[in-house]
């Protein structure tokens, strides 16, 4: 997550034209004929045109678009459930368009797993057999994969449901089975086709949270399809916006919200509740500078003198903030603890909504830590303010950088009264 990651999947010049004579229509599409003209002249439908994108290892890449934009068609090209009319698809440097049917099966078995909108479970197999399906068809014995399937079921919170049939589960539970099935194959790449779209809002956000928690440990490469910008912003490291089979914009969530490429994306981004859609991850500054130790002596050489303060860790646990002034006043053997200011750390997966009060409550940046307590970065209040709304940015900036007691009660009331707007 910290260093620039290598490209895992590359798609170049991908075209998908539906119809009996797609090859003959292709030159016209390449020459720039519009979707309507092609349909009227040749009765062929353009599914995708000139798609170029690259997905990096370990990222969640969200493809977003309205229905009919070709997003479900696009995701089916990654594992060649659909073959393109023209174009190259490379996974890990290997051109998968050149695979023989047999190699393609091997590729699907080992490289990719898929989660479907309507779950795609086998109704005649019990939950356990569904989870182990990917391993079963590889020819592994039931006794070999059973413990693994059971443990994945446990991970997604369905321990004890092994012998049920999918029809006995609720939608949310069925999709958990779908997720467990995908994870059970140990495939590096996860394709999720509107995986949460069929679930009701509460279950959906629960599943999103679970996916992000899993992703923190697994670091899989996830291609996630959705029509919901809130979901895209929440999950995506990068987002590609698809319209009428064309890529309109590819960028980070903040990019999409703050610098929409055209009116289409702008219209999307306008109605988004940013505080509820964006996570700390999208706004934080990646910066793992910290000082480790118990006494002033321990941290003497580590303290970044170009900064006003530093996050103090001891034994891998976050302790608090040490300012430069306090640090300079300390003698060698003084313990750090008494002078530390405790600033509550936030998680990457936290929604901005949750961290706004914390941000207002301190003059320091908030430390961002992961599940294991490791420092991942810092959350700057100025950046947070800018992301939430350009209009309020100056106001919030001042607010965040002044000392807490100096702010008048009246001013505070004003700020909190506009909070619901975010």
């Amino acid at each position: 997550m910290d260093n620039p990651r290598e490209t895992l999947i590359e798609i170049e010049g991908l075209y998908q034209i539906f119809g009996p004579k797609a090859e003959e229509v292709l030159p016209k599409v390449k020459a720039g004929a519009s979707k309507e003209d092609i349909l009227a002249e040749t009765s062929h439908t353009i599914g995708l045109q000139d798609i170029n994108l690259s997905v990096k290892r370990g990222e969640i890449f969200v493809i977003m678009g309205l229905s009919g934009s070709g997003k479900s068609t696009l995701i089916r090209h990654f594992n060649r459930l659909i073959d393109p009319t023209a174009g190259k698809i490379k996974v890990d440097g290997e051109n998968i368009m050149a695979l023989s049917p047999k190699d393609l099966i091997t590729f699907r078995r080992h490289k990719m797993a898929m989660v479907f909108q309507h779950f795609g479970l086998m109704p005649h197999r019990c939950v356990l057999d569904n989870v182990g399906y990917g391993l079963l068809i590889k020819g592994e014995k039931r006794a070999e994969w059973k413990p693994k399937a059971v443990s994945w079921l446990e991970t997604v919170g369905l321990a004890g449901y092994e012998d049920q049939f999918p029809s006995q589960l609720s939608g949310g539970q069925q999709q958990r089975v779908g997720l467990a099935r995908a994870l059970c194959t140990d495939a590096e790449i996860l394709l999720m086709d509107e995986a949460f779209s069929a679930l009701d809002p509460l279950i959906r956000s629960e599943m999103q949270e679970q996916l992000m928690e899993l992703q923190e440990n697994l670091q899989k490469t996830i291609i996630f399809i959705t029509h919901d910008l809130d979901e895209a912003l929440r999950l995506g490291d990068r987002i590609a916006v698809l319209k009428d089979g064309k890529l309109v914009q590819v960028g980070s969530p903040v990019d999409i919200v703050l610098n929409p490429a055209d009116d289409y994306v702008k219209a999307f981004a306008k109605d988004v509740n940013r505080a509820r859609a964006l996570t700390v991850h999208t706004v934080m500054t990646t910066d793992t500078d910290k000082v480790e130790g118990l006494t002033a002596n321990d941290v003497k050489d580590q303290f970044p003198m170009d900064k006003d303060y530093a996050f103090v860790f001891h034994d891998g646990n976050y302790q608090g903030v040490l300012t430069k002034r306090q640090f300079c006043q300390l003698k060698d053997d003084d313990l750090l603890e008494p002078v530390l200011t405790y600033v509550e750390p936030v998680r990457q997966t936290n929604l901005l909504q949750k961290v706004i009060p914390m941000c207002l409550n301190t003059q320091f940046d908030l430390p961002v830590i992961n599940k294991k307590g490791e420092l991942k970065g810092r959350l700057e209040s100025s950046k947070l303010a800018k992301v939430l709304s350009p209009n309020f940015s100056t106001l919030c900036y001042t607010l965040a950088h002044k000392k807490w007691p100096q702010i008048s009660g009246h001013f505070l009331t004003h700020i909190f009264s506009i909070m619901p707007l975010f």
Binding site: N79, L81, H124
Partner: protein
Amino acid sequence: MSDTSWLTEFPDMSRRDLLAIRQTLDGAYRSFSRAYGESIENFFNPLLHFLIWFENLLIQTPWWIVLSIIIGLVYAATRSWKLCAGVLVSFLAIGYFGMWEDTMRTLSIITVCTILSICIGIPIGILMARSDRAKSIITPLLDIMQTMPAFVYLIPVVMLLGIGRIPGVIAVVIYAIPPVIRLTNLGIRLVNRETLEAATAYGATPTQRLFGVQIPLAMPTIMAGINQTIMMALAMVVVASMIGVKGLGQPVLKSITNQYFTLGLLNGLAIVALAIIFDRVSQSYAKRAQKHLEGTENG
């Protein structure tokens, strides 16, 4: 003035031409059956032997053993004592009215015809589901098989193989096989697209897809087809008896020609009893095999 009779009468071909066509075709077929009749008959010999063996087995085994085996099978398939009691009563009545032997003969030929229809029909149905071209060729053939009067295709069969069990079996299979073919095709085509896609996405081979997903999920529909096939096979019993198939059909035929109302009614009722038993047993077996479908589609 030219001849205008074509306005009032259909301008058909001359009788002589028609006769010539008929004679040529009949002659060609006759010489074909003379040349190949024997080898075709030999080809069907194993089937004939099996038929005779199975029929003798059912007739020569003491009735109470046959009956208890039937009851055992019914119970194994349905787990319902009520159905078993019904079957017992029907068979006892059939035996009491002196139709035991004929019923066994009919039972044997129906069983063989059903098994044959399933063995031939399901693969054809699968082929139809996989290829649209195969479907467009087979569908009209099935239409012909179902609507062509049975007597019409009995003629060439009898010309080729004479009178007896084999032509009877062929006639019954031709008549009874379309439902299982059609419904196998339909069932496989109706399998949820996403479920099949999931199998493909996880790297299932075409064979694994067919036997692991398509056929199991199409099973309720295929079972309905098999059920229909059995019913249609039973309906052909009387027609088949016209070409020498022994069984419940022959007394019915006899009572038509001699106007024996009661004999006809009794044998007809026996056929109905067999049909109902086959239907209920196969249906409740199918239901039991599809247990996972109970309580579907929540949420």
